[in-house]
């Protein structure tokens, strides 16, 4: 250190820095963070949207309610002789889960739980029960949705961005067309896709039938628990891909042309130019896109609200939809807030992991 004591760095500009971020920071604190903290607070109370009853602190009850799980091992029914009973098809018979979860004083901790999933363990059947089955399904569906949408959508968006970043006459027209689904409100697009997915004579079924020369059997895309989530996934990707295409495009433009020239001379083909010049040059953009898509995927709401309402049989329940349903429709702000908080914690964990993995080394 020099004689004049510790040096102030030239690169530090606290005053200018704070002044520049202050307006945005204050706004975000007021309109995002403060409400969120309120919501966070609600999640520990029994706050209702509408109620003459006073709000009470309930501790973690809302969370326990949401994430409570239990297991139950069912042994096959036996007859008086202790021999297992089989039905006509030879399948084992088990007591109903209901008999344990409803008014069964021997299993008070299972009261009101529902079967989530189960498997066979020898002759026994293990059942995992959830206190809030809808929430659990919403949670798993959300994770599936994110896991599929985030990579697929970012990759497709990049592909589109590369396609329309060419120097071609009329490329603007295509750029505009690719962006169109984003321009139309998601609510409207969702309505439109209900027509397309219609199980009887929707366009998709008609098209597939036509393409397969009539071999294809129409599927009730949104009415079938096996396909509904995938239908929503496909439609969501289709709808939002233009949004992220635009972000990729702006990233593409920061890559200096001279690097492509150098690579071209060194014998790189199109893929190699992408792999070694474009992709590394898009690093910052990629981080942005992945984070944004992940966040947006977690926030899935409108499509479900308009297209399936969480059905059929909860196959399209997702967290935000549940948060909204509980908060507004069911007037249970506390419950909705608790879901928001759980969502926040999950996403924060994921994004911290993401940032840790993609940190600059």
């Amino acid at each position: 250190m020099s004689t004049s004591g510790p040096q102030k760095s030239l690169q530090r500009h606290p005053l200018a820095g704070w002044l520049m971020i202050a307006p945005a920071a204050v706004l975000i604190a007021t309109f995002l963070i403060a409400p969120f903290i309120l919501a966070f607070g609600y999640s520990f109370t029994n706050q209702r949207l509408i109620s003459p009853n006073p709000t009470e602190f309930v501790g973690l009850r809302n969370f326990e309610q949401l994430i409570g799980v239990g297991t139950l091992v069912l042994s096959p029914e036996t007859d008086d002789a202790g021999v297992v009973v089989r039905d006509d098809d030879g399948a084992l018979q088990y007591p109903t889960v209901r008999s344990f979860t409803r008014a069964n004083d021997d299993f008070p901790h299972l009261q009101g739980m529902q079967e989530w999933f189960g498997w066979n363990w020898g002759d026994d059947r293990v059942v995992v029960l959830a206190r809030d089955l809808v929430f659990m399904k919403a949670l798993t569906n959300t994770l599936i949705f994110v896991a599929v949408v985030a990579p697929v959508q970012s990759a497709l968006a990049l592909l589109l961005a590369l396609m329309i970043n060419q120097k071609l006459r009329g490329i603007n027209i295509f750029r505009t067309i690719y962006f169109m689904p984003v321009v139309v409100s998601i609510v409207v697009v969702s309505l439109l896709w209900r027509f397309i997915y219609d199980g009887r004579n929707g366009l998709l079924n008609n098209l597939l039938e036509f393409l397969s020369f009539g071999l294809f059997q129409p599927i009730d895309w949104l009415g079938n628990p096996g396909t509904a989530l995938w239908a929503i996934i496909a439609m969501s990707i289709w709808q939002a891909v233009g949004f992220h295409m635009v972000i990729w495009l702006s990233g593409l433009q920061t890559i200096p042309v001279s690097l492509y020239e150098a690579a071209e001379i060194e014998g790189a083909n199109a893929w190699q130019k992408f792999r070694f010049v474009t992709w590394p040059g898009l690093r910052n953009t990629a981080v942005l896109i992945i984070v944004v898509i992940t966040m947006q995927a977690f926030a899935l709401f409108a499509q479900v609200d308009v297209m399936t309402n969480g059905g059929p049989v909860d196959s399209t329940q997702v967290l935000v939809f549940q948060a909204v349903q509980r908060g507004y429709e069911q007037q249970n702000i506390a419950g909705g807030s608790a879901i928001s908080v759980i969502l926040f914690v999950i996403v924060l964990t994921i994004s911290l992991t993401q940032r840790y993995l993609t940190r600059e080394r």
């Binding site: 009853n53 199980g199 949104l222 309402n309 059905g311 059929p312 069911q330």
Partner: protein, 399 residues
């Protein structure tokens, strides 16, 4: 003059606005004290707007409220009882009177009713008896009719229940089936539990039958698109349609004299349809409740009831008014609906918890129709409803 604000859910409907503005103008000129000012909201957003306003303390003087929601708002303290003169509600259809906790909080200028839309020619062709109010279809009869119609191969589906409409339609239109089976969404004696009524044997019987409709492909499922709902019956793709009176005129125009509006089937405990539609009430925060009540009392005059009915096709709230209308007067094309309302209408559970119960009922129905285990689905709804009641201290009225 004191201004009274009035919120109404009909934004975007010109006819309603005209009539309402007419009433307001008449009222404003009829007395010197009050001036009513109208603010309209789109229906889909109305409840949320009111709740938001309540949360922020911005309610108007007079609010428009959907009948079954009223107890909830009254309980929450958004509304206060009306101050109507004695006998003002004489002759009103029960569905048009919003009573909660022994007080009248709201009153409707009309009621709505649902009926089974059918074509006389079709029923005759397949030899299906045309039911009457006195002798409605029984469960077996109705089910058989559906099977017959389906078996004919003429129709894509025998019956359209309107599963495309995911809102209040389910409890409004299908709740009465449950009631007719003998179940309910909540035990109406105490309003404190759904156990045994929503998951009792009657309810399970209803659920099984309900599921069978879908399993047998007699009716389109929840993924039905809105276009099909609107055109399916008219185009002849659906043989029967369970639909509200607001579609009556439109369908009549398309189908003509062949169209029949049939009463609800009797599933064992008498035929039922839902009652209560939009009604007017006074907000709890109104500084001028007497003025607000005065306006409401002014608005429920027969001529206005008739005007509304003529304008938007709903069932006028009194027989006198019905007589003055095009559609519900004697020999009018929709006359039958007035009769249906009178004879079959039953209110949805009059409890603040109804709002929640309706949601659970809706979810259970749609899960069942999509193959969920009937008992499990009804149990889940029952538990959820009970939990909600408990969370709200039994929806006891606050002191």
């Amino acid at each position: 003059q004191t201004e009274l604000s009035l919120w109404y859910h009909g934004a975007g409907n010109e006819v309603e606005r005209e009539i309402l503005l007419g009433i307001i103008e008449d009222f404003n000129t009829s007395q010197p004290d009050w001036t009513v000012v109208l603010e309209e909201f789109p229906q889909a957003a109305y409840n949320d707007s009111v709740v938001a306003a309540a949360v922020s303390g911005n309610l108007p003087d007079i609010i428009d409220v959907d009948g079954p929601v009223m107890p909830n708002w009254a309980w929450a303290g958004y509304m206060q009882p009306l101050q109507l003169s004695e006998g003002a509600l004489d002759g009103f259809l029960p569905g048009a009177i919003g009573e909660y906790n022994g007080e009248v909080y709201s009153v409707g200028l009309w009621d709505a009713a649902v009926a089974m839309y059918a074509r006389r020619s079709v029923l005759e062709e397949y030899g299906i008896r045309i039911p009457t109010l006195e002798e409605p279809w029984t469960l077996e009869e109705f089910d058989a009719a559906l099977v017959t119609l389906d078996a004919s191969g003429e129709f894509e589906y025998a019956l359209d229940l309107g599963m495309a409409d995911q809102g209040e339609w389910y409890p409004y239109a299908f709740g009465p089936f449950l009631w007719s089976f003998g179940g309910d969404m909540v035990d109406r004696t105490t309003y404190e539990t759904a156990e045994g009524v929503l998951n009792g044997d009657e309810a399970v019987a209803f659920g099984d039958w309900w599921q069978s409709l879908f399993d047998r492909d007699l009716v389109p499922g929840t993924s039905q698109d809105m276009a099909d709902r609107e055109t399916g019956f008219i185009e002849g793709d659906y043989a029967l349609q369970w639909n509200g009176n607001w579609f009556g005129v439109q369908t009549l125009d398309a189908v003509g004299d062949d169209l029949l509006f049939l009463p609800a089937p009797d599933f064992g405990n008498g035929p039922k349809i839902g009652g209560a539609s939009w009604q007017f009430g006074v907000s709890a925060t109104s500084a001028n409740p007497e003025g607000a009540s005065a306006f409401i009392e002014f608005a429920i005059q027969d001529e206005y009831l008739a005007a509304f009915s003529d304008g938007i096709g709903l069932v006028p709230a009194t027989a006198e008014a019905a007589a003055m209308t095009e559609n519900y007067s004697e020999g009018g094309p929709l006359e039958v609906f007035f009769a249906l309302s009178e004879a079959q209408a039953m209110l949805r559970p009059v409890t603040p918890g109804y709002v929640f119960q309706a949601l659970e009922f809706r979810k259970a129905l749609s899960d069942i129709s999509n193959g969920a285990d009937v008992i499990t689905a009804l149990d889940a709804a029952t538990d959820a409803i009970n939990a909600d009641i408990e969370r709200n201290n039994g929806y006891a009225v606050a002191q």
